[in-house]
């Protein structure tokens, strides 16, 4: 059947030049688990991922040709931009802090409020939002169609050199799914290749143990990510309603997605509004400044304060989550350089 299809395509002239795209194999540790998300109609291929990487760094996808995804998602900062709020094509700051792009393969609902189901849907937002890249997908497709390189790359990835919005978001998503960070010092410890200091070990215990600082309840597991939405006590009256704006439910007021803590030492400032400049401020928050409200997570009520040393140990653990190979991996870098 598949052969027949390929034969048919050959007949119409929209043939893959070098044969059909080759499957791309994603690799990750077994302790990440296999609850990954790859839509049936967008399997990862070598050619698709290569194209997606180029599109990720392609400024032609923005009006004015100055901004790409990488403007707000820089590899050296684990795909964040170091700013409290990002600046798009029209100079207006984004309402929320840019998010790290790591281990997205396990995420199902994207953005701080989880409003985009799947990466393909997510990608449309920055591409077309007037404060981000500000260009209709149809125009992006037209611009790429006229370029000397892209039609052939789209043909290799999708079997036809006709460029469509759908193929642009598919290729971008394929690339993003390959952004896997699993070689942090903490991973080396899990593999038995790194001996943590006493402070780091205590930080690990504090983080994961229910009797400790209780971080693991929300940021649990070696991925330091679980797809949960919580109010983590930033404000008693949240300025940004977060998840409530999506679901319309009062109980979702001030709830945001529990973000991954992978590479967290590289992704300051912190929280959806980038209010904390350092991890020390974050530790202070969870120890001393949890704000009560009707929607505060029950897991953050009546907490024990952390000692100075405990805060230091927690921060030492968070530093173990830095993955220096992830931020220097050539497969994720700017292909135009």
């Amino acid at each position: 059947m598949v052969l027949l299809l390929i034969a048919c395509l050959a007949g119409t002239g929209s043939i893959w030049k070098q044969g059909p795209p080759r499957p791309y194999k994603v690799e990750y540790p077994s302790y990440f688990g296999n609850r990954i998300n790859i839509p049936e109609d967008n399997p990862l291929t070598e050619e698709g991922v290569r194209l997606g990487r180029m599109l990720f760094y392609e400024t032609a996808l923005s009006s004015g040709n100055r901004i790409s995804c990488a403007s707000c998602h820089k590899q050296e900062l684990a795909f964040t931009d170091g700013l409290q709020f990002s600046i798009g094509v029209d100079g207006t700051p984004t309402p929320r802090n840019s998010m790290s792009l790591a281990n997205l393969l396990w995420v199902r609902n994207f953005f701080w409020d989880g409003r985009a189901e799947g990466l393909e849907k997510q990608a449309e937002t920055p591409l077309t939002n007037p404060h981000e890249m500000g260009q209709a997908l149809a125009i992006s497709a037209q611009k790429l169609q006229q370029s000397p390189i892209y039609p052939a790359l789209f043909r290799d990835a999708f079997g036809s050199n006709v460029i469509t919005d759908n193929k642009i978001v598919k290729a971008l998503s394929q690339f993003e799914r390959t952004l896997i960070s699993s070689n942090s010092t903490y991973d080396q410890y899990l593999r038995g290749e790194y001996q943590p200091t006493a402070s780091e070990l205590n930080g690990i215990t504090l983080f994961f143990d229910p009797g400790g600082a209780g971080c693991g309840h929300c940021h649990g597991g070696p991925k330091t990510f679980s797809e949960l939405f919580h109010n983590n006590g930033l404000d008693s009256i949240p300025e940004d309603a977060g998840r409530k704006a999506i679901t319309g439910q009062e109980y979702d007021n001030g709830r945001f997605r529990v973000a991954t803590l992978r590479n967290i030492a590289l992704t300051a400032p912190y929280m959806h509004d980038g209010r904390f400049k350092t991890l020390e401020e974050v530790a202070d928050h969870y120890s001393d400044h949890i704000q009560a409200s009707a929607t505060l997570s029950p897991f953050l009520e009546n907490r024990q304060k952390l000692t100075m040393q405990e805060k230091k140990d927690l921060v030492a653990f968070l530093h173990l989550l830095t993955d220096s190979t992830f931020i220097t991996d050539k497969r994720f870098s700017n292909p135009f350089k």
Binding site: L228, G248, E250, Y251, S297
Partner: protein
């Protein structure tokens, strides 16, 4: 009885919850997808069970048994729960994204004596903010980790 049930069913399926009203949906391998609201739940047969909470104390929760809800949605329960139907499970989803799973047999009165309920009352009053309006209460487990808060969905599926 039958007429009553059908009337009730019709009422539940027509009653689409408004955007702001919290509700529980029952979907998947069901003959009648449901959207239950607090008002709907209060009209069904009520059951009270005891659960030992994280505070180590027993508390009385009142609501509707899970088999009762599954029957209303036309899920294979009781005599129908055999053969391939024994490979079905119920995925419970909560407002905060929390998810837990039960095999249908674990919840069925023909398999077990314990009574899991969807509770909307604690000690005769409403559930505390953060846990309600609907909490799954599963007595007889060593940890209350599956007695999840703010339940929004039951999804019935075949294990594949």
């Amino acid at each position: 009885m039958k007429v009553y049930l059908i009337a009730l069913l019709a009422c539940f399926s027509l009653h689409q919850a408004s955007a702001q009203e919290a509700s529980l949906s029952v979907t998947g391998e069901v003959t009648h997808p449901l959207q239950l609201t607090a008002a709907g739940l209060s009209k069904m047969k009520r059951t009270t069970v005891a659960l030992k909470d994280r505070d180590g104390k027993e508390h009385k929760y009142t609501g509707v048994t899970i088999p009762e809800i599954l029957d209303l949605a036309g899920v294979t329960t009781g005599k129908q729960l055999r053969g391939e139907n024994l490979t079905k499970y119920m995925l419970v989803k909560c407002a905060d994204g929390y998810e837990v799973l039960f095999s249908l047999a674990e919840l069925d009165t023909s398999f077990t004596d314990r009574t899991a309920i969807l509770a909307d009352q604690l000690e005769g009053g409403p559930l505390p903010a953060g846990k309600g309006p609907f909490r799954l209460v599963v007595p007889g487990e060593k940890k209350p980790a599956r007695s999840s808060f703010q339940v929004t969905e039951f999804i019935i599926r075949f294990a594949k």
